[in-house]
């Protein structure tokens, strides 16, 4: 970077002494933060540090805070998100905020419709404009499609496109890449850098180290609702950054595992097929076969929409008649009959959408974690042995370093990352033989990630087999013993640990393999 802070004009936003409480609990204890034109300001910190809360204050979601917020030098206090948008602040929130039942075009223009007289919507212009925005964002979908029908990564891209289409002086992105593939991430980064070049301010929240160091002009770290400090990346090497975030030293988070001699196969899947949910005759997963051994981690990779998630759901039995194929668990026939049956047999799925498919926000941490294992904690009449249950949950959440006010607090009140931990804990408490993990570290901070990698190693050491989907290439390469790459729903390559590299995975995912085109079929 060539500019120095002294030469820069007034910050776009500057926050001083921000305090925010939910009920009696204060979660921000006087935070200072500012963003200057033409910089990418990364906000980092552990799960629950208060990052999302801070940016919700900047973007007008929370109006009840104390402290001073200046926008363009003038004191402001937004009552509604619309006010912040009008003041030139565009935000992509951590949780998806699209209306699934409305079209892509409607979603793009929601809240700022192009209208004629009497509030009449100019649909023709909106559709045309939407097509242009989608093309810019590299999204291959029709403006007339329902947003809810898009895969989750496209939804995320759509949301980003929507925010970027607003002519904002400040763009806030809260973990935008947690659901994106590498290619999409690259597209996004290019656009962020373009915005920076135009002199706009960008606030970027992420738990991914490499993203921080690729993008950041400055880094601000929060811990437990307090400001630890702000620094430029050259003055804050990764080890130091981690210490700022976690307050302690961590071992190498992504240390490679030693490959174990593979044991007997735990799960064998043969000729798995999944029909498309709405297009008859189309297959989204076709002839996928693999085996995963006890104590082995099988990575499942593919571009967005390649059918990896559908594969796991199909094995778990959550797709009903859309899925067909055979499977064996520890040598016995495994019917892929449904969640209940699969869990009882020891196959447990963690989905990549904890909000829609994972958690009930009103349930207490205890109830939420024990939900899949209640049979173990209750007698024939269904009477729950609550002391036993509490002890088991408490032990597990302690191992996960869960940051929750109490085990009786509703899950919805935890930070995103801590919610993810309760979700993982639920899967583990069910004593699985095979764990199907779809983006298990989505939205989890470095400290917790290290914890989870450690735990995963412990689990496989105990003989659990894991099938892992992750969009973080480093994580995939570090954790997997083998990697199965899908291309358009078909197996494109199976890479042994030594053969696996970022390039090899990407090449296979895009349909080129060393040995020719993927899948063996024309």
């Amino acid at each position: 970077m060539t500019t120095t802070p002294a030469e820069l004009p007034v910050p776009i936003v500057s926050a001083r002494g921000i305090r925010k409480a939910f009920g009696p609990v204060e979660v921000l204890h006087g935070v200072d933060f500012d963003v200057r034109p033409g910089e990418v300001h990364v906000l980092a910190g552990e799960n629950g540090a208060g990052k999302s809360t801070l940016i919700k204050i900047l973007s007008g979601v929370y109006g009840d805070f104390s402290g001073e917020l200046r926008v363009g030098g003038r004191p402001r206090r937004f009552g509604r998100p619309a006010d912040a948008a009008r003041a030139g602040i565009a935000t992509i929130h951590q949780e998806l905020s699209l209306v699934p039942s409305m079209t892509v075009a409607d979603n793009l223009f929601l809240g700022r419709e192009t209208t004629g007289r009497f509030g009449r919507v100019d649909f023709a212009r909106q559709t045309a404009e939407a097509a242009r925005i989608l093309a810019d964002a590299g999204l291959e979908c029709s403006p007339r499609q329902l947003a809810g029908d898009l895969p989750i990564s496209s939804q995320q891209m759509l949301e980003i496109a929507r925010a970027l289409a607003r002519d904002a002086s400040l763009v806030i992105l809260d973990e935008p890449t947690s659901a994106l593939s590498d290619r999409e991430t690259e597209t996004l980064f290019a656009r962020i850098l373009a915005l920076r070049a135009q002199g706009r301010g960008i606030v970027y929240i992420t738990h991914r180290m490499e993203e921080i160091y690729r993008l950041a002009d400055r880094i601000t770290v929060l811990r437990d609702g307090r400001l630890v400090g702000t620094a430029t990346p050259d003055r804050l090497p990764p080890a130091e950054l981690v210490r700022w975030m976690v307050g302690r030293e961590l071992g190498r988070a992504e240390a490679r595992r030693d490959v174990r001699a593979s044991g007997p196969p735990a799960l064998e899947v043969t000729a798995l097929r999944v029909a498309h949910a709405s297009v008859p005759g189309r297959l989204v997963v076709e002839d996928v076969s693999f085996a995963v051994a006890r104590g082995e981690i099988l990575g499942l990779a593919g571009l967005q929409g390649s059918g990896t998630s559908e594969t796991l759901h199909a094995i778990f039995g959550a797709l009903g008649r859309r899925a067909s194929g055979r499977a064996r668990l520890d040598g016995e026939r495994f019917p892929m009959r449904g969640a209940r049956d699969s869990i009882a047999r020891g196959v447990v799925l963690l989905t990549n959408d904890r909000k829609a498919l994972g958690l009930a926000p009103e349930l207490s941490v205890i109830d939420s974690v024990s939900l899949a294992s209640l049979a173990r904690f209750s007698g024939a009449g269904g009477w729950v042995r609550r002391a036993e249950e509490r002890a088991a949950v408490a032990g597990l959440t302690a191992a996960f370093r869960l940051n929750a006010p109490s085990l009786d607090a509703p899950v919805g009140a935890l930070s995103g990352g801590n919610q993810q931990k309760t979700y993982l804990a639920r899967c583990l408490l069910a004593k699985p033989r095979v764990l199907l993990l779809d983006e298990p570290t989505r939205g989890i901070d470095v400290g917790a990630k290290a914890d989870i990698y450690e735990l995963m190693r412990a689990w496989v050491a105990e003989g659990i087999a894991i099938v892992l989907i992750t969009s973080e290439m480093d994580e995939l390469l570090a954790l997997s013993d083998r990697i199965l790459v899908l291309h358009r729903g078909r197996p494109a390559a199976e890479l042994a640990r030594d053969a696996a590299s970022k390039d090899a995975v990407l090449a296979a995912a895009m349909g080129h393999t060393a040995t020719g085109t993927a899948g063996g079929r024309p």
Binding site: V61, R80, P81, A82, A85, T91, H93, L96, S97, L98, V99, P100, S101, M102, D106, N107, F109, L110, G111, R112, E113, T115, F118, G119, R120, V121, R162
Partner: protein, 331 residues
């Protein structure tokens, strides 16, 4: 050629409007079979059916708007009664001209609807409860306005004397027919309400906002949709439509009855849902509601023409609601 045609038909068949229309067609078929000695083939029977469902249909228009926001409005029946009573009171004992009385009544309905809207949107009370409370409250208010009696053209003066006032022309006008006596005015009013609702829902910005709030309120808020204002508008519209329905009811009954309309809210909801608009919010349309209104209207007409006993009627109605909804969603 044939394939394209077939595929197009298959696609059309999957749309909610197609399913609703087929349900309606089945109902008409039943009517043709149980035609009560040919009565079902007379236009006057259909005309009267249309008149009968009009008041429900007007309520269902407002209900559609509210249900699209993922809400519900139980108070429409009581606001209808309050409007009927107020209209009768203003025009009969008070002698206001229709040109003044009608706007006044519409303002009352809209105001009560807005109160529900504000309580639901700003105070964050669930619509079911807000409008349940409003349903009880407005019924009480209707009884206060009417002094607990029906308001007819037999007017009692404060000094105890009483006399008949002539029925204002507006009553007869609303309860008359046009197009050579073939279409009732209340049916025309109903269709105008459908048209207005259609424009709001599918042509105006407000419509986009209504769908967005119903589809995902949090997302709508974060996208800058004025959620509270949109919700208030929805309930205000519902109140307005209920007031229009109340005026039609009073004109047809030639009186203002504080007990009128009891239970209409459930009919209106059933009509909306049978059309294919789901209570989950975020989708649906008033065209579906129109079809739902006709379907239930014909059901009731057929049962009535055939003098089905009450027990049978109730059991059939319950069964048919379930079948229609099942059919709506396909096997």
């Amino acid at each position: 050629m044939t394939r394209g045609w077939r595929a197009a038909l298959g696609e059309w068949w999957a749309t909610p409007v197609a399913r609703a229309l087929v349900a309606l067609a089945l109902m008409l078929l039943i009517g043709c079979v149980f035609n009560a000695d040919g009565a079902f083939f007379k236009w006057s029977v259909h005309r009267d059916m249309l008149r009968q469902v009009s008041v429900y249909g007007i309520l269902a228009c407002g209900m559609t708007v509210v249900i699209i926001t993922a809400g519900i409005d139980l108070s429409v029946s009581s606001i209808l009664a309050l409007a009927a009573v107020s209209f009768a009171w203003l025009t009969l004992p008070e002698g206001w001209p229709a040109a003044l009385a009608i706007p006044a009544v519409l303002v009352i309905g809209t105001a009560l609807g807005s109160v529900s809207g504000v309580l639901a949107a700003r105070m964050r009370i669930q619509p079911f409860i807000v409008t349940l409370a409003m349903m009880v409250f407005a019924r009480g208010l209707a009884k206060v306005v009417s002094g607990g009696m029906k308001i007819t053209n037999y007017v009692q003066e404060p000094d105890g004397t009483s006399h008949l006032v002539p029925m204002p022309r507006i009553f007869g006008m609303i309860d008359s027919r046009v197009l050579g006596g073939n279409v009732s005015i209340v049916t025309v009013i109903f269709l105008l309400c459908v048209l207005a609702t259609w424009i709001i829902l599918s042509r105006l910005r407000l419509g986009r906002h209504l769908y967005a709030v119903g589809g995902n309120e949090e997302a709508a808020r974060l996208s800058g949709v004025p959620v509270a204002r949109t919700l208030v508008m929805a309930y205000a519209l519902s109140g307005l439509f209920a007031a229009i329905a109340g005026i039609c009811q009073a004109a047809q009954e030639t009186q203002g009855d504080p007990e009128t309309g009891m239970g209409y809210e459930l009919d209106a909801i059933a009509m909306v849902v049978i059309g294919g608009t789901t209570l989950a919010g975020g989708k649906g349309s008033v065209v579906l509601t129109l079809i739902g209104v006709l379907t239930i209207g014909y059901l009731q007409k057929i049962l009535s023409l055939n003098a089905a006993p009450e027990a049978t009627r109730l059991m059939l109605t319950g069964t048919i609601i379930v079948c229609a909804v099942l059919f709506q969603r396909g096997r």
